[in-house]
């Protein structure tokens, strides 16, 4: 599926960022082409979650250097909602709960907002109901979850499945999964991973931020990057992840 002639979706060049005056990212370089799956691994505190938040535009992080091009646009100039409109999606490690707003109403609001920005048609509640029921099958989600309030009272696994359902609805060009595997039991992990695999096409790409190799048993990465101290210190293929699993992170050096 990968070929060097595939279109470049994301180009990160020498990206540096800080939070509350502390430098976290110290010169990240990363190229993601259409059809690719990139895994970003690394010990706690290496900056991998920060990278995903900076790409999605979290306001608490300050970009101190470098640039990020996304399909020809300077991503760093856009507020987070416009990054979403452009096709960037972040699956949260800790999705928030919105009591009082049903999952289907929220998904429809997000869907119609994006449709308006992308020049597509709005769906009314009935049309959306059909659409969302079809999409829920991707993450094997019971339709009753659509009537429940967004993430309220959801288990960890249900919240993560709901994130992938949102990804299915918003149809991003670049999906960033921030520790989507954390807190999942083996069944939930399989369902979430299958969902992501079903959504992969030759026109989109996935960046998976993860601490553990086990997610990569289900979603095969084309590239594995190891982060440490705010930099990508090693890039390899799937074999690198297996090696990290047996040997840990300590042996990897820039």
């Amino acid at each position: 599926m990968i070929s060097s002639s595939s279109k470049v979706i994301l180009e990160v060049r020498n990206l540096s960022a800080s939070v509350a005056g502390v430098d976290i990212l110290k010169g990240i370089n990363l190229t993601v082409r259409a059809g690719e799956v990139h895994a970003i691994m690394g010990p706690n505190g290496s900056g991998k979650s920060t990278l995903s938040k900076v790409l999605a535009g979290h306001p608490s992080y300050t970009v101190t250097g470098g640039d990020v091009m996304f399909q020809g646009k300077n991503l760093l100039e856009l507020p987070p909602e416009e990054r979403a409109h452009a096709g960037v999606f972040l699956a949260f490690q800790y999705p928030i709960e919105i009591p009082g707003v049903s999952n289907s109403a929220f998904l429809r609001l997000a869907y119609n907002t994006l449709q308006a920005r992308r020049g597509g048609e709005d769906l009314d509640p009935l049309e959306f109901n059909d659409y969302i029921r079809e999409k829920s099958k991707i993450v094997e989600m019971d339709p009753s979850f659509l009537d429940r309030n967004v993430n309220e009272g959801f288990s960890g696994g249900e919240k993560k499945r709901n994130e992938i359902l949102q990804m299915a609805v918003l149809d991003p060009t670049l999906a960033i999964l921030d520790e989507t595997d954390s807190g999942l039991d083996i069944d939930a992990l399989r369902i979430v991973a299958n969902g992501v695999n079903k959504l992969m096409t030759t026109n989109n790409a996935v960046i998976m931020v993860t601490h553990y190799q086990r997610l990569l048993n289900y979603i095969a990465p084309d590239f594995v990057h190891v982060m440490r101290g705010g930099q990508i210190i090693k890039t390899g293929d799937k074999a690198l992840a297996l090696e990290l699993e047996t040997r840990g992170y300590d042996w990897v050096h820039a």
Partner: protein, 444 residues
């Protein structure tokens, strides 16, 4: 200087000026009621007008109302059912009592309830032994000037009696309508709800206004509600204060709980320039259950003060309270929630949470949850937060493509909706959601 001093001290006689001209003029008023009203009037003369020097009124300064002279309302304005249509609840067509400017409007009311349910006025129920047994027994006026003032006017009001083991399937709606008038009017709504053993009902106590002009009308509502819940009885009480933004509203509710009774309260405050709601609940026998939900949504120069007292005096009681305030503009919300767990109230389980959302840097919230425990084997927890919208929550919604304004509206809506969702009447729930949407901006 001396003029200022004088105006401060002169407030003490302000409430006296609001006393009824004569207490005995009503036809067929029983002696006991005349005596009760005279007693209450006596207390109004003796009690000072509350000031911010009183601990219980520390943050709510009502002296502004003393600038206005309120006249007692005389007769019901000539309203038709069409005029009040926006407030009518399709679920409650069988039991509706409407008062216009404090006076019962028979032609707007309806009562076709199952046997065992009585919804009537004091005037019609004056001969009733129930009225005599219960009226003014729970909302005591010895030390409460506003309760005393209301009691001094107690000749008409809503009387609801649920007979033994009677479940009223449809909600009962007591609607107090204030209309625009040339002179500011004072009204004294009064409700007595008696739920006999094993009975069950849903009650909507509703304060609304009808404006014919663009300017908000100034009036004063001084309300008192007493609810007596006998053993194994259930009362679900939704109290809605949506007065005009220039109105003054002081309301008291006194709830008396017996063995294994259930009381659910949703108090929702949107209106009035200055408002105060005192909700006092006493659990007087073993094993009563209380759920207290509160929502205050105010803006501009509004002030809303909610004081609640949950008094567990007997064992095995439960109470769960969640009070939420959303404060925009230069508004000011106050919450004071006291929970007492008396020496004999072992195995009480009580929680209290005060959650406040400040939407502007000119708004203000004062919250004081208080827990006083005298028993040694109880489970109690309380807490309060005052916050602005969370960065993390905003970012989550922004990352889903919603702009800052929509995300903000959605989060405020969700904050309010968690309480509105508990209102047990669907048509009312929908209208309240719409009201919140229209105030914070349409989102879903």
């Amino acid at each position: 200087m001396s003029a200022v001093m004088q105006s401060v001290t002169s407030h003490d006689s302000y409430l006296t000026g609001l006393l009824p001209a004569t207490v005995t003029a009503q036809t067929a008023t029983p002696e006991w009621l005349t005596a009760l009203r005279a007693d209450a009037a006596q207390r109004v003369r003796a009690l000072p007008f509350p000031t911010t020097r009183d601990e219980e009124w520390r943050f709510s300064d009502f002296s502004l109302m003393c600038k206005t002279t309120f006249a007692p309302a005389i007769a019901a304005a000539t309203l038709t059912t069409a005029d009040i249509a926006p407030f009518l609840l399709p679920e409650a067509t069988h039991g509706r009592l409407v008062f216009v400017n404090g006076v019962h409007a028979q032609h707007l009311s309806s009562s076709s309830l199952p046997q065992g349910v009585i919804v009537t006025t004091f005037t019609a129920g004056l001969a009733s032994e129930t009225l005599r047994t219960h009226l003014a027994q729970y909302a005591t006026f010895q030390n409460e000037a506003f309760v005393a003032l209301n009691t001094s006017h107690a000749h008409d009001g809503a009387l609801v009696v649920l007979g033994k083991n009677t479940a009223c399937a449809t909600p009962l709606h007591v609607l107090f309508v204030s209309t625009a008038s040339t002179t500011p009017v004072a009204t004294f709504p009064r409700c007595l709800i008696v739920a006999e053993p094993g009975s069950e009902c849903t009650l909507i106590e509703d304060y609304v206004h009808l404006s014919t002009t663009r300017t908000a009308s100034t009036y004063f509502t001084n309300a008192v509600t007493e609810i007596v819940i006998a053993e194994n009885a259930i009362v679900r009480h939704t109290r809605l204060q949506r007065e005009s933004s220039s109105a003054f509203h002081v309301g008291h509710a006194a709830i008396h709980l017996s063995h294994n009774s259930v009381y659910d309260s949703n108090s929702i405050t949107f209106g009035a320039r200055l408002s105060r709601y005192n909700l006092n609940i006493i659990q007087n026998a073993e094993g009563a259950n209380c759920t207290l939900n509160g929502l205050v949504l105010i803006s501009g120069r509004q002030m809303a003060d909610t004081h609640t007292v949950m008094d567990h005096t007997q064992p095995n009681g439960n109470s769960a309270q969640l009070h939420k305030c959303i404060v925009d503009g230069g508004a000011h919300a106050i919450f004071n929630g006291k929970i007492f767990v008396r020496k004999d109230a072992q195995h009480t389980h009580s929680t209290q949470s005060s959650r406040n959302l400040l939407l502007s840097n000119k708004g203000r919230v004062d919250t004081k949850p208080q827990l006083e425990i005298f028993a040694d084997d109880v489970k109690c927890a309380h807490g309060a937060t005052v916050s602005q919208l969370e960065t993390e929550e905003m970012f989550y919604l922004n990352s889903r493509g919603l702009n800052a304004n929509t995300a903000r509206n959605l989060l405020i809506y969700a904050f309010a909706e968690a309480i509105i969702d508990k209102v047990p009447v669907n048509s009312l729930k929908q209208r309240l959601s719409q009201k919140v949407s229209s105030q914070v901006g349409e989102v879903v």
